[in-house]
Protein backbone atom coordinates (compact mmCIF):
# COMPACT_ATOMS: atom_id res chain seq x y z
CA UNK A 1 0.00 0.00 0.00
CA UNK A 2 1.33 3.40 -0.99
CA UNK A 3 0.95 5.70 2.00
CA UNK A 4 0.25 9.23 0.81
CA UNK A 5 0.71 11.76 3.60
CA UNK A 6 -0.64 14.85 1.87
CA UNK A 7 -0.79 16.56 -1.48
CA UNK A 8 2.29 18.79 -1.65
CA UNK A 9 2.55 20.57 -5.00
CA UNK A 10 1.12 21.05 -8.45
CA UNK A 11 3.28 21.57 -11.54
CA UNK A 12 1.75 23.32 -14.52
CA UNK A 13 3.08 24.08 -17.95
CA UNK A 14 2.22 27.44 -19.49
CA UNK A 15 3.03 29.32 -22.67
CA UNK A 16 2.87 32.64 -20.87
CA UNK A 17 4.81 32.69 -17.64
CA UNK A 18 4.25 36.43 -17.13
CA UNK A 19 0.46 36.05 -17.35
CA UNK A 20 0.62 33.11 -14.95
CA UNK A 21 2.62 35.18 -12.48
CA UNK A 22 0.22 38.13 -12.77
CA UNK A 23 -2.71 35.82 -11.99
CA UNK A 24 -0.99 33.83 -9.24
CA UNK A 25 0.09 36.94 -7.37
CA UNK A 26 -2.46 39.61 -8.29
CA UNK A 27 -5.60 37.47 -8.27
CA UNK A 28 -4.94 34.25 -6.40
CA UNK A 29 -2.64 35.94 -3.90
CA UNK A 30 0.25 33.46 -3.76
CA UNK A 31 3.78 34.59 -2.92
CA UNK A 32 6.64 34.23 -5.37
CA UNK A 33 9.23 31.96 -3.79
CA UNK A 34 11.64 31.87 -6.69
CA UNK A 35 11.95 32.68 -10.37
CA UNK A 36 14.46 30.47 -12.14
CA UNK A 37 15.10 29.73 -15.79
CA UNK A 38 11.66 29.22 -17.27
CA UNK A 39 10.03 28.39 -13.95
CA UNK A 40 8.05 30.22 -11.30
CA UNK A 41 7.74 28.82 -7.77
CA UNK A 42 4.84 29.98 -5.63
CA UNK A 43 4.05 29.59 -1.96
CA UNK A 44 0.70 29.34 -0.19
CA UNK A 45 1.76 28.22 3.29
CA UNK A 46 4.89 27.26 5.24
CA UNK A 47 6.04 24.94 2.45
CA UNK A 48 8.83 26.23 0.20
CA UNK A 49 6.48 25.92 -2.77
CA UNK A 50 3.10 24.43 -3.54
CA UNK A 51 2.65 25.53 -7.14
CA UNK A 52 5.19 25.66 -9.95
CA UNK A 53 4.55 27.10 -13.39
CA UNK A 54 7.12 26.25 -16.05
CA UNK A 55 7.38 27.24 -19.67
CA UNK A 56 5.82 24.54 -21.77
CA UNK A 57 2.66 22.85 -22.88
CA UNK A 58 -0.35 23.68 -20.63
CA UNK A 59 -1.29 20.02 -21.00
CA UNK A 60 1.75 19.15 -18.90
CA UNK A 61 0.35 18.91 -15.41
CA UNK A 62 1.52 16.93 -12.41
CA UNK A 63 0.29 16.58 -8.85
CA UNK A 64 2.80 15.77 -6.12
CA UNK A 65 2.01 13.77 -2.99
CA UNK A 66 4.33 13.45 -0.04
CA UNK A 67 5.37 9.98 1.13
CA UNK A 68 7.27 9.13 4.30
CA UNK A 69 10.80 8.34 3.16
CA UNK A 70 12.98 6.88 0.43
CA UNK A 71 12.15 3.33 1.46
CA UNK A 72 8.46 4.13 0.97
CA UNK A 73 9.35 5.54 -2.43
CA UNK A 74 11.14 2.30 -3.43
CA UNK A 75 8.21 0.23 -2.20
CA UNK A 76 5.78 2.43 -4.10
CA UNK A 77 7.81 2.07 -7.31
CA UNK A 78 7.84 -1.70 -6.95
CA UNK A 79 4.08 -1.80 -6.27
CA UNK A 80 3.32 0.37 -9.28
CA UNK A 81 5.57 -1.62 -11.60
CA UNK A 82 3.93 -4.83 -10.45
CA UNK A 83 0.63 -3.26 -11.57
CA UNK A 84 2.16 -2.34 -14.94
CA UNK A 85 2.39 1.40 -14.31
CA UNK A 86 5.45 2.87 -15.99
CA UNK A 87 7.45 4.41 -13.17
CA UNK A 88 9.85 7.24 -13.83
CA UNK A 89 12.58 7.64 -11.20
CA UNK A 90 13.51 11.29 -10.80
CA UNK A 91 17.16 12.34 -10.87
CA UNK A 92 18.70 14.41 -8.07
CA UNK A 93 18.53 17.46 -10.32
CA UNK A 94 14.89 16.88 -11.17
CA UNK A 95 14.13 16.38 -7.47
CA UNK A 96 15.84 19.71 -6.84
CA UNK A 97 13.43 21.33 -9.28
CA UNK A 98 10.65 20.01 -7.06
CA UNK A 99 12.38 21.21 -3.91
CA UNK A 100 12.25 17.64 -2.66
CA UNK A 101 14.82 15.05 -1.67
CA UNK A 102 13.70 12.42 -4.18
CA UNK A 103 10.65 11.59 -6.26
CA UNK A 104 9.10 9.16 -8.68
CA UNK A 105 6.47 9.85 -11.31
CA UNK A 106 3.76 7.70 -12.88
CA UNK A 107 0.33 8.01 -14.48
CA UNK A 108 -2.86 7.07 -12.63
CA UNK A 109 -5.25 4.77 -14.55
CA UNK A 110 -6.88 7.76 -16.29
CA UNK A 111 -3.48 9.15 -17.29
CA UNK A 112 -3.03 11.96 -14.79
CA UNK A 113 0.64 12.53 -14.03
CA UNK A 114 1.22 11.81 -10.34
CA UNK A 115 4.46 12.33 -8.46
CA UNK A 116 5.48 10.93 -5.10
CA UNK A 117 7.97 13.12 -3.29
CA UNK A 118 10.15 12.58 -0.23
CA UNK A 119 10.87 15.44 2.17
CA UNK A 120 9.49 18.37 0.18
CA UNK A 121 11.06 21.51 1.60
CA UNK A 122 9.50 23.85 4.09
CA UNK A 123 10.56 27.44 4.48
CA UNK A 124 11.59 29.06 7.73
CA UNK A 125 10.20 32.33 6.50
CA UNK A 126 6.48 32.56 6.90
CA UNK A 127 4.19 32.86 3.90
CA UNK A 128 3.12 36.41 3.17
CA UNK A 129 0.50 36.68 0.41
CA UNK A 130 0.87 39.19 -2.39
CA UNK A 131 -2.62 40.43 -1.72
CA UNK A 132 -4.80 40.14 1.38
CA UNK A 133 -6.51 36.95 0.21
CA UNK A 134 -6.49 35.06 3.51
CA UNK A 135 -4.96 31.91 1.98
CA UNK A 136 -3.87 29.44 4.65
CA UNK A 137 -2.56 26.79 2.29
CA UNK A 138 -2.80 24.56 -0.74
CA UNK A 139 -5.25 21.84 0.22
CA UNK A 140 -6.65 19.57 -2.49
CA UNK A 141 -7.07 18.84 -6.17
CA UNK A 142 -9.91 17.75 -8.41
CA UNK A 143 -8.68 15.09 -10.84
CA UNK A 144 -10.35 14.09 -14.07
CA UNK A 145 -11.31 10.46 -14.30
CA UNK A 146 -12.48 8.50 -17.32
CA UNK A 147 -13.76 5.77 -14.97
CA UNK A 148 -14.38 6.92 -11.38
CA UNK A 149 -15.04 3.40 -10.04
CA UNK A 150 -11.74 2.09 -11.48
CA UNK A 151 -9.81 5.13 -10.28
CA UNK A 152 -11.42 4.99 -6.85
CA UNK A 153 -10.14 1.43 -6.58
CA UNK A 154 -6.64 2.59 -7.54
CA UNK A 155 -6.55 5.41 -4.99
CA UNK A 156 -8.11 3.37 -2.19
CA UNK A 157 -6.54 -0.04 -2.78
CA UNK A 158 -3.12 0.66 -4.29
CA UNK A 159 -2.79 3.88 -2.28
CA UNK A 160 -4.14 4.66 1.17
CA UNK A 161 -6.95 7.03 0.19
CA UNK A 162 -10.33 6.55 1.91
CA UNK A 163 -13.68 7.66 0.50
CA UNK A 164 -15.27 10.35 2.71
CA UNK A 165 -18.44 10.88 0.65
CA UNK A 166 -19.78 10.23 -2.82
CA UNK A 167 -21.93 12.32 -5.14
CA UNK A 168 -23.36 9.89 -7.64
CA UNK A 169 -20.32 7.76 -8.48
CA UNK A 170 -17.89 10.62 -7.81
CA UNK A 171 -15.75 9.89 -4.75
CA UNK A 172 -14.28 12.54 -2.46
CA UNK A 173 -11.22 10.91 -0.94
CA UNK A 174 -8.98 11.73 1.99
CA UNK A 175 -5.43 10.70 2.79
CA UNK A 176 -5.42 12.32 6.23
CA UNK A 177 -8.08 13.78 8.55
CA UNK A 178 -9.16 16.46 6.04
CA UNK A 179 -12.44 15.55 4.35
CA UNK A 180 -10.88 15.28 0.92
CA UNK A 181 -7.50 15.70 -0.72
CA UNK A 182 -8.50 14.14 -4.04
CA UNK A 183 -11.87 14.65 -5.69
CA UNK A 184 -12.43 12.56 -8.79
CA UNK A 185 -14.48 14.10 -11.56
CA UNK A 186 -15.82 12.19 -14.54
CA UNK A 187 -14.33 13.63 -17.72
CA UNK A 188 -13.40 12.39 -21.20
CA UNK A 189 -9.66 12.69 -20.63
CA UNK A 190 -6.95 13.21 -18.02
CA UNK A 191 -6.42 16.63 -16.48
CA UNK A 192 -6.64 18.75 -13.38
CA UNK A 193 -10.25 19.75 -12.78
CA UNK A 194 -9.41 22.27 -10.06
CA UNK A 195 -6.79 23.35 -7.54
CA UNK A 196 -7.97 24.28 -4.05
CA UNK A 197 -6.49 26.72 -1.58
CA UNK A 198 -7.99 27.13 1.86
CA UNK A 199 -8.66 30.61 3.19
CA UNK A 200 -9.04 31.69 6.81
CA UNK A 201 -12.66 32.84 6.91
CA UNK A 202 -15.93 33.19 5.10
CA UNK A 203 -15.10 36.90 4.88
CA UNK A 204 -12.09 36.00 2.72
CA UNK A 205 -14.28 34.01 0.31
CA UNK A 206 -16.74 36.89 0.02
CA UNK A 207 -14.11 39.61 -0.29
CA UNK A 208 -12.50 37.63 -3.11
CA UNK A 209 -15.89 37.15 -4.75
CA UNK A 210 -16.34 40.91 -5.11
CA UNK A 211 -12.69 41.59 -5.91
CA UNK A 212 -12.60 38.95 -8.66
CA UNK A 213 -15.81 40.36 -10.10
CA UNK A 214 -14.21 43.79 -10.25
CA UNK A 215 -11.12 42.32 -11.90
CA UNK A 216 -13.41 40.49 -14.36
CA UNK A 217 -12.01 37.10 -13.43
CA UNK A 218 -14.58 34.52 -14.62
CA UNK A 219 -16.33 33.10 -11.56
CA UNK A 220 -17.55 29.67 -12.54
CA UNK A 221 -19.27 28.46 -9.35
CA UNK A 222 -20.22 30.14 -6.09
CA UNK A 223 -20.10 31.63 -3.61
CA UNK A 224 -21.59 28.42 -2.33
CA UNK A 225 -21.37 25.70 0.27
CA UNK A 226 -20.70 22.02 -0.28
CA UNK A 227 -23.07 19.84 1.75
CA UNK A 228 -20.43 17.08 1.66
CA UNK A 229 -17.43 18.75 3.27
CA UNK A 230 -19.31 21.74 4.70
CA UNK A 231 -16.84 24.09 3.01
CA UNK A 232 -17.90 27.50 1.69
CA UNK A 233 -16.39 27.87 -1.76
CA UNK A 234 -15.68 30.03 -4.79
CA UNK A 235 -14.44 28.61 -8.10
CA UNK A 236 -12.87 30.81 -10.74
CA UNK A 237 -10.81 30.50 -13.89
CA UNK A 238 -7.08 31.05 -14.09
CA UNK A 239 -4.53 30.89 -16.91
CA UNK A 240 -5.03 28.23 -19.59
CA UNK A 241 -8.62 27.79 -18.41
CA UNK A 242 -7.60 25.97 -15.25
CA UNK A 243 -10.09 26.35 -12.40
CA UNK A 244 -8.97 27.43 -8.94
CA UNK A 245 -11.02 27.24 -5.76
CA UNK A 246 -10.94 29.10 -2.48
CA UNK A 247 -12.70 27.39 0.37
CA UNK A 248 -13.06 27.59 4.11
CA UNK A 249 -14.43 25.34 6.80
CA UNK A 250 -13.79 21.95 5.29
CA UNK A 251 -14.73 19.22 7.77
CA UNK A 252 -12.28 16.85 9.33
CA UNK A 253 -13.14 13.20 9.69
CA UNK A 254 -13.09 12.81 13.45
CA UNK A 255 -13.30 9.07 13.77
CA UNK A 256 -11.34 7.34 11.05
CA UNK A 257 -12.49 3.87 12.10
CA UNK A 258 -16.22 4.53 12.20
CA UNK A 259 -16.63 6.98 9.32
CA UNK A 260 -18.98 5.69 6.68
CA UNK A 261 -19.10 7.50 3.35
CA UNK A 262 -22.42 9.21 2.73
CA UNK A 263 -24.12 8.90 -0.62
CA UNK A 264 -25.42 12.13 -2.16
CA UNK A 265 -27.61 12.10 -5.23
CA UNK A 266 -26.14 13.46 -8.44
CA UNK A 267 -27.96 16.79 -8.48
CA UNK A 268 -27.03 20.48 -8.12
CA UNK A 269 -27.93 20.68 -4.42
CA UNK A 270 -25.35 17.97 -3.68
CA UNK A 271 -22.70 20.37 -4.94
CA UNK A 272 -24.12 23.57 -3.42
CA UNK A 273 -26.59 23.63 -0.54
CA UNK A 274 -27.22 27.36 -1.05
CA UNK A 275 -28.43 27.07 -4.61
CA UNK A 276 -25.46 28.36 -6.58
CA UNK A 277 -25.31 26.97 -10.10
CA UNK A 278 -22.08 26.32 -11.99
CA UNK A 279 -21.48 28.68 -14.90
CA UNK A 280 -18.89 27.84 -17.49
CA UNK A 281 -17.78 24.86 -15.44
CA UNK A 282 -19.24 21.45 -16.03
CA UNK A 283 -20.43 19.47 -13.07
CA UNK A 284 -18.88 16.05 -13.15
CA UNK A 285 -20.95 13.91 -15.47
CA UNK A 286 -22.20 10.98 -13.46
CA UNK A 287 -23.76 8.96 -16.25
CA UNK A 288 -22.22 5.52 -16.50
CA UNK A 289 -20.72 4.74 -19.85
Amino acid sequence: MIKLRDVCYVRLGTRDLAAAEAFATGVLGLQVAERSKGALYLRSDDRAHTLCYSEGDPGEQAVGFEVDDEASLQDAAATLERLNHRVFAGSREEAGKRKAQAFIAFDDPTGNRIELAVRPERSGKRYFPTRDCGITGFSHVGLNSTDPARDEAFWTQVCNARVSDRIGDIPLMRVNAIHHTIALVRAPKAGLQHINHQVASNDDVMRSYYLLNEKRVPIVFGPGRHPTSGARFLYFKGPDGLVFEYSVGVDEIEDEASHRPRQFGFEPTSFCMWGAKPQGMALPNATKD
Binding site: N202, D203, M206, R207, Y209, Y210, L211, E214, P223, G224, R225, M273, W274, G275, A276, K277
Partner: protein, 292 residues
Protein backbone atom coordinates in the same frame (compact mmCIF):
# COMPACT_ATOMS: atom_id res chain seq x y z
CA UNK B 1 -40.08 53.00 35.82
CA UNK B 2 -36.97 52.11 37.79
CA UNK B 3 -33.80 53.86 36.75
CA UNK B 4 -31.88 50.72 35.80
CA UNK B 5 -34.43 49.73 33.18
CA UNK B 6 -33.91 50.75 29.61
CA UNK B 7 -36.56 53.17 28.35
CA UNK B 8 -36.99 51.36 25.05
CA UNK B 9 -36.90 47.59 25.01
CA UNK B 10 -37.29 46.54 21.37
CA UNK B 11 -38.12 47.42 17.84
CA UNK B 12 -41.78 46.43 17.59
CA UNK B 13 -43.14 46.66 14.07
CA UNK B 14 -43.45 48.68 10.91
CA UNK B 15 -46.84 49.75 9.58
CA UNK B 16 -46.71 50.39 5.86
CA UNK B 17 -49.17 52.56 3.98
CA UNK B 18 -49.55 50.58 0.75
CA UNK B 19 -51.36 51.14 -2.51
CA UNK B 20 -51.91 47.40 -2.81
CA UNK B 21 -51.66 45.75 0.60
CA UNK B 22 -52.45 42.28 -0.73
CA UNK B 23 -49.58 42.24 -3.25
CA UNK B 24 -47.22 43.55 -0.58
CA UNK B 25 -48.39 40.93 1.90
CA UNK B 26 -48.04 38.09 -0.61
CA UNK B 27 -44.43 39.09 -1.21
CA UNK B 28 -43.79 39.29 2.53
CA UNK B 29 -45.23 35.82 2.92
CA UNK B 30 -44.04 33.92 -0.14
CA UNK B 31 -40.68 35.58 -0.62
CA UNK B 32 -39.61 37.03 2.72
CA UNK B 33 -41.09 34.07 4.60
CA UNK B 34 -43.29 35.86 7.13
CA UNK B 35 -46.52 34.37 8.49
CA UNK B 36 -49.97 35.93 8.21
CA UNK B 37 -51.16 36.56 11.74
CA UNK B 38 -54.66 37.87 11.14
CA UNK B 39 -57.21 36.97 8.52
CA UNK B 40 -58.37 40.53 7.92
CA UNK B 41 -58.26 42.08 4.44
CA UNK B 42 -57.06 45.43 5.73
CA UNK B 43 -54.85 45.83 7.61
CA UNK B 44 -52.90 42.69 6.73
CA UNK B 45 -50.60 41.78 9.60
CA UNK B 46 -47.61 39.45 9.41
CA UNK B 47 -45.35 38.09 12.08
CA UNK B 48 -41.71 37.04 12.20
CA UNK B 49 -41.49 35.75 15.75
CA UNK B 50 -43.84 35.19 18.67
CA UNK B 51 -45.15 38.74 18.44
CA UNK B 52 -48.38 39.09 16.47
CA UNK B 53 -47.09 41.86 14.29
CA UNK B 54 -43.77 42.55 12.65
CA UNK B 55 -45.11 44.16 9.51
CA UNK B 56 -48.55 45.53 8.74
CA UNK B 57 -49.85 46.66 5.37
CA UNK B 58 -52.81 48.96 5.10
CA UNK B 59 -54.28 50.94 2.25
CA UNK B 60 -53.62 54.66 2.46
CA UNK B 61 -52.69 56.62 5.54
CA UNK B 62 -49.12 56.97 6.60
CA UNK B 63 -46.22 54.59 7.22
CA UNK B 64 -45.00 54.41 10.79
CA UNK B 65 -42.41 52.70 12.89
CA UNK B 66 -43.23 51.35 16.34
CA UNK B 67 -40.76 50.76 19.15
CA UNK B 68 -41.66 49.08 22.40
CA UNK B 69 -41.18 50.82 25.76
CA UNK B 70 -41.14 49.18 29.18
CA UNK B 71 -44.43 50.49 30.59
CA UNK B 72 -46.71 53.50 30.93
CA UNK B 73 -44.27 55.23 33.26
CA UNK B 74 -41.70 55.01 30.48
CA UNK B 75 -44.21 56.56 28.08
CA UNK B 76 -44.74 59.47 30.50
CA UNK B 77 -41.02 59.86 30.82
CA UNK B 78 -40.49 59.86 27.08
CA UNK B 79 -43.39 62.25 26.51
CA UNK B 80 -41.91 64.85 28.84
CA UNK B 81 -38.43 64.50 27.36
CA UNK B 82 -39.80 64.79 23.83
CA UNK B 83 -41.74 67.88 24.84
CA UNK B 84 -38.58 69.45 26.30
CA UNK B 85 -36.74 68.70 23.07
CA UNK B 86 -39.52 70.33 21.06
CA UNK B 87 -41.26 67.21 19.76
CA UNK B 88 -44.97 67.20 20.60
CA UNK B 89 -46.42 63.73 21.19
CA UNK B 90 -49.82 62.51 22.28
CA UNK B 91 -51.18 59.37 23.89
CA UNK B 92 -52.96 56.98 21.58
CA UNK B 93 -56.71 56.73 22.17
CA UNK B 94 -58.32 53.47 23.19
CA UNK B 95 -59.45 52.89 19.59
CA UNK B 96 -55.99 53.61 18.25
CA UNK B 97 -54.52 51.14 20.75
CA UNK B 98 -57.01 48.45 19.71
CA UNK B 99 -56.20 48.99 16.04
CA UNK B 100 -52.51 48.64 16.84
CA UNK B 101 -52.93 45.65 19.17
CA UNK B 102 -51.06 47.42 21.92
CA UNK B 103 -51.84 48.25 25.52
CA UNK B 104 -50.89 51.92 25.33
CA UNK B 105 -48.94 54.14 23.02
CA UNK B 106 -47.40 57.50 22.40
CA UNK B 107 -47.73 58.93 18.90
CA UNK B 108 -44.86 61.17 17.88
CA UNK B 109 -43.03 62.50 14.87
CA UNK B 110 -39.29 62.88 14.38
CA UNK B 111 -37.65 66.01 12.89
CA UNK B 112 -37.91 64.55 9.40
CA UNK B 113 -41.62 64.00 9.88
CA UNK B 114 -41.56 60.20 10.18
CA UNK B 115 -44.41 58.89 12.32
CA UNK B 116 -42.80 57.12 15.27
CA UNK B 117 -44.89 55.30 17.83
CA UNK B 118 -43.75 54.23 21.25
CA UNK B 119 -45.90 51.34 22.37
CA UNK B 120 -46.32 49.08 25.40
CA UNK B 121 -47.29 45.43 25.54
CA UNK B 122 -47.72 44.68 21.83
CA UNK B 123 -49.65 41.42 21.49
CA UNK B 124 -47.88 38.11 21.41
CA UNK B 125 -49.17 34.84 20.07
CA UNK B 126 -49.23 31.65 22.10
CA UNK B 127 -48.57 29.71 18.95
CA UNK B 128 -45.00 29.64 17.79
CA UNK B 129 -43.94 31.34 14.58
CA UNK B 130 -44.02 29.14 11.50
CA UNK B 131 -42.90 30.95 8.36
CA UNK B 132 -44.39 30.49 4.92
CA UNK B 133 -41.06 29.20 3.59
CA UNK B 134 -37.85 27.78 5.05
CA UNK B 135 -36.13 31.16 5.39
CA UNK B 136 -34.68 30.62 8.85
CA UNK B 137 -36.37 33.75 10.20
CA UNK B 138 -35.70 34.64 13.83
CA UNK B 139 -37.59 37.95 14.03
CA UNK B 140 -37.39 41.66 13.37
CA UNK B 141 -33.77 42.81 13.65
CA UNK B 142 -33.56 46.48 12.77
CA UNK B 143 -34.96 49.18 10.56
CA UNK B 144 -33.45 51.85 8.36
CA UNK B 145 -35.20 55.24 8.38
CA UNK B 146 -34.81 58.00 5.84
CA UNK B 147 -33.86 61.30 7.42
CA UNK B 148 -33.88 64.77 5.95
CA UNK B 149 -32.55 66.17 9.25
CA UNK B 150 -30.16 63.75 10.92
CA UNK B 151 -29.20 66.15 13.74
CA UNK B 152 -32.86 66.77 14.55
CA UNK B 153 -33.74 63.08 14.33
CA UNK B 154 -30.84 62.22 16.62
CA UNK B 155 -32.24 64.67 19.17
CA UNK B 156 -35.58 62.89 18.84
CA UNK B 157 -34.15 59.40 19.30
CA UNK B 158 -31.94 60.44 22.20
CA UNK B 159 -35.07 61.72 23.94
CA UNK B 160 -36.38 58.18 23.63
CA UNK B 161 -33.25 56.83 25.25
CA UNK B 162 -31.55 55.56 22.10
CA UNK B 163 -27.79 56.03 21.79
CA UNK B 164 -25.54 56.29 18.76
CA UNK B 165 -23.32 53.22 18.62
CA UNK B 166 -21.41 54.19 15.45
CA UNK B 167 -21.64 56.49 12.44
CA UNK B 168 -20.68 56.18 8.79
CA UNK B 169 -20.46 59.70 7.46
CA UNK B 170 -23.85 61.08 8.54
CA UNK B 171 -25.47 57.65 8.77
CA UNK B 172 -26.16 56.93 12.44
CA UNK B 173 -26.64 53.49 13.99
CA UNK B 174 -28.82 53.71 17.08
CA UNK B 175 -28.83 51.20 19.92
CA UNK B 176 -31.81 50.68 22.18
CA UNK B 177 -30.91 47.32 23.72
CA UNK B 178 -27.91 44.97 23.79
CA UNK B 179 -27.63 44.83 19.98
CA UNK B 180 -25.27 47.11 18.08
CA UNK B 181 -28.26 48.89 16.61
CA UNK B 182 -31.99 48.55 16.05
CA UNK B 183 -32.52 51.79 14.13
CA UNK B 184 -30.31 53.34 11.46
CA UNK B 185 -30.83 56.87 10.19
CA UNK B 186 -29.85 57.52 6.57
CA UNK B 187 -29.55 61.03 5.14
CA UNK B 188 -32.12 61.29 2.38
CA UNK B 189 -34.19 63.74 0.42
CA UNK B 190 -37.41 62.06 1.54
CA UNK B 191 -38.95 60.46 4.62
CA UNK B 192 -40.20 56.97 5.37
CA UNK B 193 -38.76 53.55 6.09
CA UNK B 194 -35.71 52.65 3.97
CA UNK B 195 -35.67 48.97 4.88
CA UNK B 196 -36.94 46.53 7.44
CA UNK B 197 -34.38 43.91 8.41
CA UNK B 198 -35.21 40.42 9.59
CA UNK B 199 -32.72 38.25 11.38
CA UNK B 200 -32.06 34.80 9.95
CA UNK B 201 -30.51 32.03 11.99
CA UNK B 202 -27.36 31.37 9.98
CA UNK B 203 -25.17 32.55 7.16
CA UNK B 204 -26.48 29.51 5.26
CA UNK B 205 -29.99 30.96 5.44
CA UNK B 206 -28.82 34.29 4.11
CA UNK B 207 -26.86 32.74 1.24
CA UNK B 208 -29.71 30.38 0.36
CA UNK B 209 -31.93 33.47 0.22
CA UNK B 210 -29.44 35.12 -2.13
CA UNK B 211 -29.94 32.36 -4.71
CA UNK B 212 -33.65 31.97 -3.95
CA UNK B 213 -34.20 35.67 -4.73
CA UNK B 214 -31.94 35.65 -7.79
CA UNK B 215 -33.85 32.71 -9.27
CA UNK B 216 -37.08 34.67 -8.88
CA UNK B 217 -35.51 37.76 -10.45
CA UNK B 218 -36.07 39.81 -7.34
CA UNK B 219 -33.92 42.90 -7.30
CA UNK B 220 -30.98 42.57 -4.93
CA UNK B 221 -30.29 46.12 -3.76
CA UNK B 222 -27.04 45.24 -2.02
CA UNK B 223 -25.18 42.20 -0.78
CA UNK B 224 -24.49 39.66 0.38
CA UNK B 225 -22.24 41.94 2.36
CA UNK B 226 -20.92 42.58 5.81
CA UNK B 227 -21.42 45.84 7.65
CA UNK B 228 -18.09 46.75 9.29
CA UNK B 229 -19.61 48.71 12.20
CA UNK B 230 -22.13 46.10 13.36
CA UNK B 231 -20.39 43.05 11.83
CA UNK B 232 -23.77 41.87 10.58
CA UNK B 233 -23.96 40.07 7.27
CA UNK B 234 -26.76 41.56 5.19
CA UNK B 235 -28.73 41.16 2.00
CA UNK B 236 -30.95 44.07 0.92
CA UNK B 237 -33.64 43.33 -1.65
CA UNK B 238 -36.62 45.13 -3.04
CA UNK B 239 -40.25 44.24 -2.63
CA UNK B 240 -43.41 45.73 -4.15
CA UNK B 241 -43.97 49.50 -3.94
CA UNK B 242 -40.26 50.10 -3.47
CA UNK B 243 -40.16 48.70 0.06
CA UNK B 244 -36.75 47.27 0.84
CA UNK B 245 -36.35 44.15 2.91
CA UNK B 246 -33.15 42.95 4.47
CA UNK B 247 -31.97 39.64 5.84
CA UNK B 248 -29.27 39.95 8.47
CA UNK B 249 -27.29 37.62 10.66
CA UNK B 250 -24.46 37.88 13.13
CA UNK B 251 -24.87 41.40 14.51
CA UNK B 252 -22.35 42.34 17.20
CA UNK B 253 -23.44 43.09 20.74
CA UNK B 254 -23.32 46.68 21.80
CA UNK B 255 -19.97 47.56 23.33
CA UNK B 256 -20.47 49.90 26.27
CA UNK B 257 -16.73 50.15 26.88
CA UNK B 258 -16.09 52.47 23.95
CA UNK B 259 -17.41 55.72 22.53
CA UNK B 260 -19.21 55.73 19.16
CA UNK B 261 -16.82 55.21 16.27
CA UNK B 262 -16.79 57.32 13.13
CA UNK B 263 -16.30 55.65 9.75
CA UNK B 264 -15.80 57.78 6.64
CA UNK B 265 -18.52 57.81 4.02
CA UNK B 266 -16.83 55.44 1.58
CA UNK B 267 -17.94 52.11 0.17
CA UNK B 268 -15.71 50.03 2.42
CA UNK B 269 -17.31 51.56 5.53
CA UNK B 270 -20.65 50.17 4.39
CA UNK B 271 -19.48 46.75 3.19
CA UNK B 272 -16.32 44.99 4.29
CA UNK B 273 -16.59 42.51 1.43
CA UNK B 274 -16.92 44.95 -1.44
CA UNK B 275 -20.61 44.83 -2.35
CA UNK B 276 -22.14 48.01 -3.78
CA UNK B 277 -25.67 49.32 -3.45
CA UNK B 278 -27.80 49.58 -6.55
CA UNK B 279 -31.29 51.02 -6.40
CA UNK B 280 -31.22 52.84 -3.06
CA UNK B 281 -29.10 56.01 -3.10
CA UNK B 282 -29.20 56.22 0.71
CA UNK B 283 -27.22 52.98 0.93
CA UNK B 284 -24.38 54.31 -1.22
CA UNK B 285 -21.52 56.32 0.24
CA UNK B 286 -21.58 60.10 -0.06
CA UNK B 287 -18.11 59.99 -1.62
CA UNK B 288 -18.94 57.85 -4.61
CA UNK B 289 -15.49 58.18 -6.15
CA UNK B 290 -13.67 56.70 -3.18
CA UNK B 291 -12.20 53.29 -3.82
CA UNK B 292 -11.56 50.80 -1.07
Amino acid sequence: MSADRATLVALSHVWVAARDPLTCARFAEDIVGLQRSEETADPIALRADDRSRALVFSRGGESRLAVEAWDDAALDDIQSRLSEAGFPARRASADECRARRIQSGLLARDATGNAIEIVTRPERSGRRFFGARDAGLKGVANAGLRSTDVAGDLRFWRSLGAEVSDSVGEIAYLAIDDAHHRIALYPSTSKGPLYLAFEVATLDDLMRANYFLAERQIKIVQGPGRQPASEQVFLHFQGPEGLNYTYVTGMAKRDHSRPPRQFPSVAESLCAWGSRADGAPELSPANQGAEP
